[in-house]
Subunit: 455 residues, 2 copies
């Protein structure tokens, strides 16, 4: 049964109590009825020694391997690094091909080499093969345990083959290959069950099979799977030889990860989320974007210094600096979120530069005029008491500066990610360094130039 | 074959050329080999009349229904509203239960009522039943076409049942029910094929079946499916009666949507992405957050006015306003992104308030001190020429103001979403109005108070 968060707290408390009492058999009984994912979900609340004890009470190597697969990568590596070597080998061998390769790729190198050495040749070859692919490619996320059916088999023989291959991941599609192991078709398990037993696979398969190459970007793989509502997509090498499959559960992970990456990158806070990220690492990831912002802020301060004379004459102008920059910044952030997310979900076509930027300029202009007028009106009441200058002129200056800054902010915030996408640079990165800083500087320049020109 | 973006442009151009030439048979031939999703992907590039023509050339009603299902909701409703009623009815009837209910729920009400009236009673009852569920619930996204197998059937009978129900969506799991239609177990199609034909379903099924209630939030459904790597989850009513299933492809849509919502909400730019959103609607969605920012900016301007005396004496201080606010704002945005995303993906536990906020305060403090010192050093060189005050004191004031503002920004940006999550308010909404504005005001207050106190 799935567990809500409050249930998992209670579950962990029960386990802790039983561990204190050394009640191994009781724990074993509870864990027998527990889904490996649920045990993995609470394991982080225990000290390393207890984590190892709980894992060994969870069942056989297969069950333990499922628990380790469900852990976050950081926890899994920590745990495996504390095990005796033979236990680590036994667990890694029971993990599915893609999960074991991911884990071995992240483990400390000498340990990883020792585990691979201790594996039977066939398995270690498979794993080293997988380790060669880039982490964020189809090869890197695929499972090599794919069921390939020869095209001239009969349906009844194929059913037998399915029955005899318990290790294969989610065999809901059967991929059909020719004599050279080349992918030539696809057949759903459903179709196989529904057709007459003597039918030849070649005649009932769908030859229009969609596949991806091993080096295909994982985001593109996710897009194909979700666009066509596939449960899995076969992976082929350069010679169209079937080498694995990416299943929809891995695609879900990719989609989640990419969304998290986009959000964190846009905020200049690194590119992945790790609940156990050390403060030092967090600082290291965040400092570069803050440095960029600092440089931008210092440029802005030089701009203001250049207009010190204007400022000295009309001191109340200083009070409007934050609101002018703030409004421009907010419009910029809105535009950026819309454009970056639209590009990521392919709702925005990279080629329609002017259509996208034009529409954002239009929206920015209306918002700019609206809020510029509001701010100008506020300014008028603010300046009315002062005698140094015409309050109406000052109000016009503040209002129009705000409007212009907002329009420019919207333009920059739409244009930069569109340009980045065209140059095949991730548009989500565009925010941190470029847009936020650019908008601050633009705001100050526009404000003081307009004010100086008008009054 | 899946199409990359450049291919889809070429595809649309070909169709346009053939339409101009009135080459119906040629179009029909091309569309026969086209995946409905791919036709749906380019349909937006045609005028309404041509959209209808292309749709009718796409094949039978089933094929046309698949194309309509793959369109964005806006395009689908526009298209159906232009069809003759009988054609609309024919297409809606061929759509899968969940898709037709979604469409009917969005269509203009009188048209929707007419279509439902024209459907056979059984189908119209199913659809009206579905329309009763909330849009963002399990009931709202489930498909009612689920295969229920009585528990005392034999495996061979069950296989026959599968073979005779072609309409059922993705039958990879078979859900087992008792005499009262209550869900009692689950069986994969694979298990069914692998067991002996005379086995009784009750004996081979897994009785630990995970299900969700019709009113369960769609985000929770997505979480369960992705947590346990399910391909589908059965939906039951209050009496545990099996009423439908949510498949993994719908879950992917939910995950995508929710991520988009989070990003747009955090930027104060509405909550959904629609490529055909009118500028007016965009302005309407964005204006409230900008109004909140305007109010915040005006409060900040009042704060600065309160310190006009200090400012008049040390005019260069004005130049540092943007950088102080900017640095605080950037740290706040980083913290916010980390906390909001961590909460959304359940990597952050709502209950660990102090652990999360404490860690963000720690990181904020280190970053604050680091960049405060840097800014102070810059300030020292800036102030050195002026004779009005001790440049060292001014530098200390600017640096420490920046550090304090950054720490407070990190604190607020971590605490507000954590509090919102506890109160069951969507933490992503917290950014727009609360945090950005709060941080601006905090920055100004801290800056001028510290400066006045020190110099």
């Amino acid at each position: 049964m799935p567990q809500a968060q409050h249930q998992s707290h209670r579950f962990a408390d029960t386990l802790k109590r039983l561990l204190r009492r050394n009640a191994g058999p009781n724990i074993r009984k509870i864990l027998e009825r527990t889904h490996p994912v649920d045990l993995a979900g609470v394991l982080g609340q225990f000290i390393p020694d207890d984590q190892l004890r709980l894992l060994s009470l969870a069942g056989g190597n297969t069950m333990q391997a499922e628990v380790v697969s469900a852990l976050s990568m950081r926890m899994a590596t920590d745990l495996v690094e504390q095990m005796p070597l033979d236990r680590a080998v036994a667990i890694v061998r029971e993990m599915s091909g893609d999960d074991s390769a991911d884990l071995l790729g992240e483990l400390e190198e000498t340990l990883s080499a020792k585990i691979i050495e201790a594996m039977p040749v066939e398995e270690s070859e498979e794993v080293t093969e997988l380790l060669r692919y880039g982490e964020a490619t189809a090869g890197g996320i695929m499972s090599p345990d794919v069921l390939a059916i020869p095209q001239d088999m009969s349906a009844s023989e194929a059913i037998l083959t399915v029955q005899e291959s318990p290790d294969v991941e989610m065999a809901f599609y059967l991929y059909v290959v020719n004599d050279h192991d080349s992918l030539v078709g696809v057949l759903s398990l459903r179709q196989l069950v529904t057709c007459r037993p003597e039918s030849i696979i070649k005649d009932i398969m769908n030859p229009q099979v969609v596949s991806v190459k091993t080096e295909e970007d994982q985001e593109e793989v996710a897009r194909i799977v979700s666009r066509y509502d596939f449960l899995a997509v076969p992976v082929v090498d350069d010679t169209n030889r079937l080498v694995g499959m990416v299943t929809v559960d891995d695609v879900i992970d990719v989609i989640r990860e990419e969304a998290t990456e986009d959000i964190l990158k846009m905020a200049g806070a690194g590119d992945n989320y790790d609940e156990r990220r050390s403060p030092l690492r967090s600082i290291w990831l965040r400092a570069p974007w803050l440095s960029a912002a600092l440089v931008g802020g210092i440029v802005a301060s030089f701009v203001i210094t250049g207009f010190e004379e204007t400022l000295a004459r009309y001191l109340p102008l200083a009070a409007f600096i934050p609101v002018i920059i703030g409004m421009a910044g907010n419009v910029g952030t809105q535009t950026l979120a819309i454009v970056v997310r639209g590009l990521a979900t392919r709702k925005i076509d990279v080629k329609k530069f002017w259509r996208v930027v034009g529409s954002e300029i239009l929206v920015g202009s209306v918002l700019g005029i609206l809020f510029g007028v509001a701010l100008g009106a506020m300014g008028f009441f603010r300046f009315r008491g002062d005698s140094v200058a015409d309050p109406f002129l000052l109000a016009v200056a503040v209002g129009s500066a705000s409007a212009v800054a907002m329009v420019l902010a919207a333009t920059v915030a739409a244009a930069i990610p569109m340009l980045f996408a065209r140059l095949h640079i991730d548009p989500a990165v565009a925010t941190g360094p470029f847009v936020t800083t650019a908008v601050d500087i633009i705001g100050v320049i526009v404000y003081f130039n307009i004010v100086t020109a008008i009054v």
